[in-house]
């Protein structure tokens, strides 16, 4: 896609982002309960104090003005104070974000490796036991609720075998200096290899749980895309050229099969964001997802609002990535 095409595609996002902001704004603005009371919590306050707080929060202004203020604040990442933490929402979210990013990336890697690997294998060994087994596994994989799968993993690897930790990100967190916030990276930067393996052990089960459904889906997409590619004339012609089987599979067939697969993967990465909340809750993972779930129960609306908006924006950008990736991989679209 040409740079101009990318700009055009970005401009198309503007109305979508505006619509998302409207939905998120009204989702919270129309929520029952007085934000002032929630903000105050158990603290006592006079009516005057309440009024001034109401004014400070902009709640005494008309709805459309409040929306414009919300838009302006959202654009600058300003979402007010988190009720519960009594700190800026932005700060609270930024603290939790690296954990969620690390978990999501790990799940993504697992899903891509397992999904594409098994998909290719199943297509190449079509109708063999490995094809049948992975097809059945994929079917069960998409039919299984993530939280239940996570619990099964905990039962097996943590409770019964005692091989992996049940929850958390790392055993001795304080020792790792902050660089990227991703513990796997930070521990390596600090050359703390014991901590690295500890973080890895903590990450394994949540990442597998989060990646399962996506791996299953990718496996199905890859398999059918590979089968389609392998039936094409260009594969027969490539065979007639006498090039190696590996080259035919991985260069000729896979390069074409990856076009739909990568597109689905980029879109599904957005779905991982939703899965975060479930998996972080199951494994006590201190990320954004669990923060949102807790925020809902503590009626910490500014926090929930900001997080929902953030998730939606990331999701929209991932969909954009899917389009761009598709264009990059498919020469016929590129020019």
């Amino acid at each position: 896609m040409s740079p101009l095409g990318v700009v055009e595609r970005l401009l198309q996002l503007v109305p979508v982002l505006l619509g998302i902001s409207i939905v998120v704004f009204f989702m919270m603005a129309l929520t029952p309960g007085d934000p002032v009371e929630l903000m105050l919590g158990d603290a006592r306050a006079t009516d005057e104090q309440r009024q001034s707080l109401r004014h400070d929060m902009g709640l005494d202004r008309p709805m459309h003005e409040r929306f414009l203020v919300f838009l302006r604040n959202a654009a600058t990442g300003e979402f007010g104070m988190s009720f519960h933490h009594r700190r800026p929402v932005r700060q609270v979210i930024l603290e939790r974000l690296p954990a969620t990013i690390e978990l999501t990336l790990a799940a993504l890697v697992i899903a891509l490796v397992v999904g594409i690997g098994l998909g290719v294998l199943a297509a190449v060994r079509r109708d063999s036991w490995i094809d049948r087994l992975s097809t059945v596994t994929a079917l069960v994989g998409v039919s299984m609720p993530g939280f239940w799968f996570g619990i099964l993993l905990i039962l097996l690897f943590a409770v019964t075998l005692g091989a992996l930790p049940v929850s958390g990100r790392i055993g001795y967190e304080g020792e790792v200096p902050f660089v990227t916030g991703l513990l796997l990276v930070d521990t390596l930067v600090a050359s703390k290899f014991a901590s690295f393996f500890d973080a890895l052990r903590h990450l394994l089960l949540p990442a597998v749980t989060l990646g399962l459904a996506m791996a299953a889906l990718l496996m199905r997409v890859t398999r059918s895309a590979m089968l389609e590619a392998l039936a094409q004339d260009y594969v027969t012609f490539a065979e007639a050229k006498g090039i190696s089987r590996a080259r035919i599979l991985f260069r000729h067939a896979l390069k074409n099969a990856l076009i739909p697969t990568v597109t689905v993967a980029a879109i599904e990465t957005g779905t991982l964001l939703g899965g975060n909340m479930i998996v972080e809750t199951v494994f006590g993972w201190p990320g954004l997802g669990r923060l949102v779930v807790e925020g809902i129960f503590t009626r910490n609306y500014p926090l929930v609002q900001a997080a929902v908006l953030l998730y939606a924006v990331i999701y929209v950008l991932l969909n954009l990535c899917a389009d761009l990736l598709y264009a990059t991989l498919n020469p016929r679209v590129r020019s």
Binding site: D233, Y234, A240, G242, S244, N256, L329
Partner: protein, 324 residues
């Protein structure tokens, strides 16, 4: 059939097992390709032309299978050759161009990569990437591609139909094969470009001293470019011989019918008469002449196993009337 054939196919049977029954796409084909010659293989679609030569290359895919026969090339039977040896031979000794370059070239890879990988597959280690690239440029220039260096980085869809065909010919010729199988090289092309591509193949044949099998459903094209011709009908060769002799005096009723169904430039007023009837279903064929239901000379003798019989100088025909 003379002995020093480059490729000798004997009794080849390639069958496809389907749910409806066994499709005998190739059923007892005997064919010779002589060194340096251009052999035309003519037949309607479904007559087994392409299946025969995919069998030669070992590229018949399940449910298809070579059931019987020998494919002698360079003293070895390709039908018995281990897969690795067959692969080494494909593209190096025997190359093929397919009907439609648009589907035969990989849409996701540059044409440069598709040419270079062929060269490197057979020149293992000898030609480095740079040398292989230089050779690809040279070959593209040879087939008449303008600005070959620049176009190496282009994808197949960026070429015109004629240029794509040239790319495919380049790939086929990249390792100087002894035999080129050109499968309907012109069907996917505009009429104006057809002659260019056929001339290119003829030129390259002379330059490289290779043999060419020109598969076509167009007897006119074959008459113009081929030394010898073989006609196929329902999975069998029904007549073969020097092109001129066959066209001047066809011996098999199918060849005769085919010629009558074609317009002649020399005699445009001659009435065109298509062959009556239809090509038989290739499932459950009886052991009789395949052309029997459509043949104007059908007789009881045709109901027995019909073989290819000598029919004059270098000519063969599969018809009982030859022996009589």
């Amino acid at each position: 059939m003379s002995d020093p054939a480059l490729l000798a196919i004997r009794g080849l049977r390639t069958w496809f097992t389907t749910r409806q029954g066994v499709v005998k796409a190739v059923d007892g084909v005997d064919l010779d390709v002589l060194p340096g010659e251009c052999l035309g293989v003519v037949g309607e679609s479904g007559s087994g032309k392409t299946a025969t030569f995919l069998s030669v290359l070992g590229l018949v895919k399940p449910p298809g299978r070579i059931e019987a026969g020998q494919i002698i090339f360079g003293g070895r039977d390709l039908a018995q050759l281990p897969a690795a040896e067959l692969r080494a031979l494909r593209g190096r000794d025997i190359a093929i161009t397919m009907q439609d370059a648009l589907t035969a070239l990989n849409p996701a890879l540059t044409v440069g990569e598709q040419i270079v990988e062929t060269i490197r597959a057979h020149d293992r280690g000898v030609a480095g990437p740079a040398a292989a690239r230089a050779r690809a440029v040279e070959l593209l220039r040879l087939v008449g591609m303008p600005e070959p260096e620049r176009r190496l980085g282009d994808y197949p869809h960026q070429f015109s139909g004629g240029m794509r065909q040239r790319v495919m010919i380049t790939i086929a010729l990249s390792c100087r094969p002894k035999l080129l199988i050109a499968d309907e090289p012109t069907t996917a092309l505009d009429v104006t470009i057809q002659a260019q591509v056929l001339d290119l193949i003829a030129t390259m044949r002379r330059q490289l001293g290779m043999s060419v099998v020109l598969i076509s459903h167009n007897l006119g094209v074959v008459a113009e470019y081929c030394d010898r011709v073989a006609l196929m009908y329902a999975g069998q060769v029904v007549e073969s011989g020097p092109t001129r002799a066959v066209i001047a005096a066809p011996r098999h009723p199918y060849t005769q019918g085919l010629l009558r169904s074609m317009p002649l430039l020399s005699d445009p007023d001659r009435p065109i008469r298509p062959i009556a009837g239809q090509v038989p279903d290739l499932i459950d064929l009886p052991e009789e002449c395949r052309f029997l239901p459509r043949c104007p000379h059908a007789a009881d003798a045709c109901r027995h196993d019909i073989r290819l019989l000598p029919a004059g100088a270098g000519r063969w025909a599969r018809c009982v009337r030859i022996a009589a």
